[in-house]
Symmetry: C2
Subunit: 243 residues, 2 copies
Amino acid sequence: MRDLVTLLWKPPTPPRRGPRPTLTLESITRAGIAAADANGLTGVTMHRVAEAVGVTKMALYRYVPGKAELVALMLDCAIGAPPDPRPGASWRETLDAWARGLYAGFCAHPWALEVAVGDRVIGPNELTWLEHAVTALTGSGLDGGEMLDVAVLLTGHVRNLAQQVTAISSAPNPERAMSSSLHLVLAGREDRFPAVTAAMASAKAVEGQDQALNFGLARILDGVGTLIDARKDRVLGPPDLRL
Amino acid sequence: MRDLVTLLWKPPTPPRRGPRPTLTLESITRAGIAAADANGLTGVTMHRVAEAVGVTKMALYRYVPGKAELVALMLDCAIGAPPDPRPGASWRETLDAWARGLYAGFCAHPWALEVAVGDRVIGPNELTWLEHAVTALTGSGLDGGEMLDVAVLLTGHVRNLAQQVTAISSAPNPERAMSSSLHLVLAGREDRFPAVTAAMASAKAVEGQDQALNFGLARILDGVGTLIDARKDRVLGPPDLRL
DNA sequence: CTCCAACTGTGTCCGACGGATACAGAGTAT
DNA sequence: ATACTCTGTATCCGTCGGACACAGTTGGAG
């Protein structure tokens, strides 16, 4: 059976002999994605996926070694390729758009959040996302490790926020939801958690669902900006203009 | 059966009649944590946990409605209470220590990372962590929503980094690992991902495992600091001293 | 053209797991 | 002492991932 690295990175080669495969890796992956979008990751069953593409469960194992590999394929396919950056844009603009694009992708496929964790083989689409982020920072004065760290930082924020938003929107009553379970638990215990209680009261409903995303993004990019400025200061003297 | 909110928030009340329960919610939770620490989340089975505490699988259902609730209890118990902040410390110092403490907790229980996602009932320990973060920011000039956003931002970064580190340390050869799978995939494809290739080459092995944590933490706190300064400027005029 | 090897999809089987239900025993209140 | 309540157990079921053997199909070698 083909390795996961091979599945992700090498184009599928049709065999020379025997009956033609009736399925495609991509059709299976698409079916899995559809199932996951509809019913979440627990809704993705070998049986269900096979049914969706019109074969028996065991036929899938001719294409994929197991469910874990299928899910990995689904992840890279669902995330897709990053959009081309606007030419001439600053590193900040580019990274901002980059992060929002990733955010949109995760919001469209909430199950991907549960999958994109831990030690896993990175797929071509995912690596292309990383490539774009590093490219945006190339020439900024940061070293390689710092560029990768920035990408990690942004990814983490995006994933965290996407989690929060999908959790809220999948709640029974998304309109009034705004961390309803937090309110529920906080009720009657305000004395034990005064700061959180005050913060929640002060936050009211002014927070749109994208507010936290914007906030964190601005904070992170501000922090990166000060680092870049500091690097430039050390090399070129005080800067005469800021972003 | 007791609700998850009740299990998390109300102390267990021994019943009035019938035989004494041989188990404790806490002993079961501890056994689950031990199993998860040893074999990961998939290693946590009702059967195994029951075996560890010396009863049959079904006996656990007298204490816990199901596996999901058990895992929720395990999470709140494993995270534990946050350490008391050093009195007199600045908001930045406090949040820095806060984040590092959370990081240590997640590193000690990597399975918790897979669990602390999505829409879930928050437990007392987890809420206390949040309370401490908001407390550190009280009086800084940020409004409630912003304080909560900062906590979310820091949590996301910590979780992301803990994920990365536990993935690396659980790899077959942690010494040379440093994103070994990335190297593996990148080999022979340097032309397709030039920026990432260059960044990895420039990053070499100088990056300690805590480097990315420190980097992101510094960036985020820098960004928060500039916001706080901006708020103070607007209210009090230009500040005469900085942190 | 024939035969063989390679390959595909199917049916059947198994083990692990989460959970439901019925039941027997233990202990307390009356 | 009796009745009631609660505990732990044994048994059963459905679902899921996966192993395996088998039959049918296809293309290349003789």
